[in-house]
Amino acid sequence: MFYLISALYLGWSLGANDAANIFGTAVSSRMVKFLTAAILSSIFVILGSILEGKTGIETIGKLSVMNLTTAGISSLSAAIAVTIMTILKLPVSTSQAVVGSIIGIGVMQKHIALIGLYKIIICWIGTPIGACILSIILYVILARVANRIRLSWTGFDFMMRAGLIITGCYGAYALGANNVANVTAVFYGAGFLSVQAAALIGGTSIALGILTFSKGVMQTVGKGIVKLDAFSALIVVFSNAITVHTYAIIGVPVSTSQAVVGAVLGIGLLKRAEALKKRSILGVFSGWIATPFIASICSILLYFITHLKYIG
């Protein structure tokens, strides 16, 4: 149980941070109450984890040979990396921290499932690019539909609000399905938890993070996204949800923040406007390189410390 604490912390921080990518716009603009958003996203995160989290849990669980100690080290290293990056106010991705820490363990044990790793790296790069392309396609198609439907001003607003709630629920489902592997997959790999137990515990810890600590992040991140008009914000949330869900089906945990960056970039390209700050794009690269690097250094150090032996 002690080993699970760092995993639960990781899940909690994931929920606290990533729910903002889904419901941030709706909550910060006061279209949806925080409590409604938090309850809806918690329910859908747990549902996503249980119903579709299995594939991701298996991919991450089999990335390296794990036992209970290495699983604990891996979780703790990822949690430390996420905390350091958060304190330094750098963009952080839990998925990339977890994979980085597993690689660190793999380096020390001289065993990494390279095919799985290549798959993960390709998916990481594909996340913002995919979300960018998807947001352009969705915008073009749905804008035509929206302009053709004869709705009154307030009717249109209602559609936008309902759309943000529905896509938000779908986004939460996708978050649970995709990111639950970050939380408990290593314990499945170590044989400590079954897939179902890993999905349930992981999903619940993410939901707890959303319920207890996501309000402030939603306000901050949401205001960044809400600079877009409501329709664009809806497309961003929808593209994010589809992208993340797709990778959940493939079985690779990806960063929802990077999917959002990609989607916003897509809208910016379409409207020929600078919708994104350079810092956001740099954040994607930092997520690809700095996060796994820091996490792997942490796990190497922790592995080294726990395997020190006194020779008299």
């Binding site: 009154s152 307030t154 009717g155 607003d157």
Partner: protein
């Protein structure tokens, strides 16, 4: 459908109140037109006073409705950009009945009397202004219903405003060629300029409505 109505109730309520406001706005300006017609035929009298009182009442009710919509808009019913847009829309619309009220006040308080030779000119300015205002009402209704066609109405309002400007200049020229006191000339000229401002305001509202209609497209 009933379920949809349940979720849609706040938006429907605001929509209804905006339409109520527009009805009151329209009535207010119809009474203004009535007051001006009575004034041109009978001058200041009981009938004129009745119309003026009705304008006051309608303007006050329109103000109340506007404040109600503004208050309810912030109860999480509309998306943020809509709140600002509707607020701006109502404030711009409100300038027209305010102007109408101020014109009638001017007539009443200054006991303005126009020479009969100017009746036709005044009738033309009032008619053109009221036509521009009627077009504004149509454009505003179309905007709320997202029916389109606002650009065409804006063009028509623009034409009315230009015609009104010409009528205003002709009238001022005529005033200064008449054999009346200089002070009366200035008083009448001031009123004609103020009356002409009504169509200018209609044009301002129409510009705002055009921008909003473009903004509402995705």
């Amino acid at each position: 459908m009933r379920l949809l109505d349940f979720f849609f109730r706040k938006q429907r309520l605001i929509e209804k109140e905006v339409f109520d406001y527009l009805q009151m706005w329209k009535k207010c300006l119809e009474y203004f037109k009535g007051a001006m017609e009575v004034y041109l035929v009978e001058g200041i009298g009981e009938k004129f006073d009745y119309y003026v009182q009705e304008v006051y009442k309608m303007e006050e009710r329109a103000d109340e409705l506007r404040r109600k919509v503004e208050w309810e808009m912030y109860s999480k019913a509309l998306i943020p950009e809509s709140r600002g847009d509707i607020l701006g829309f109502l404030e711009t619309m409100d300038k027209i009945p305010n102007k109408a009220e101020s014109l009638l006040n001017q007539i009443k308080l200054q006991k303005l009397e126009f020479p009969k030779e100017l009746n036709q000119n005044l009738e033309r300015i009032v008619a053109l202004s009221c036509e521009a205002i009627q077009l504004v009402y149509e454009a505003a209704t179309r905007l709320i219903r997202r029916n389109g066609g606002i650009h065409k109405l804006a063009d028509k309002i623009d034409v009315k405003e230009t015609e009104c400007d010409h009528a205003e200049q002709d009238t001022i020229e005529k005033i200064f060629s008449m054999d009346i006191e200089k002070a009366d000339m200035i008083l009448l000229k001031e009123f004609i300029i103020e009356l002409g401002n009504l169509s200018d305001r209609a044009e301002d509202v129409s510009d705002r409505l055009t921008i909003l209609s473009v903004k509402r497209r995705v």
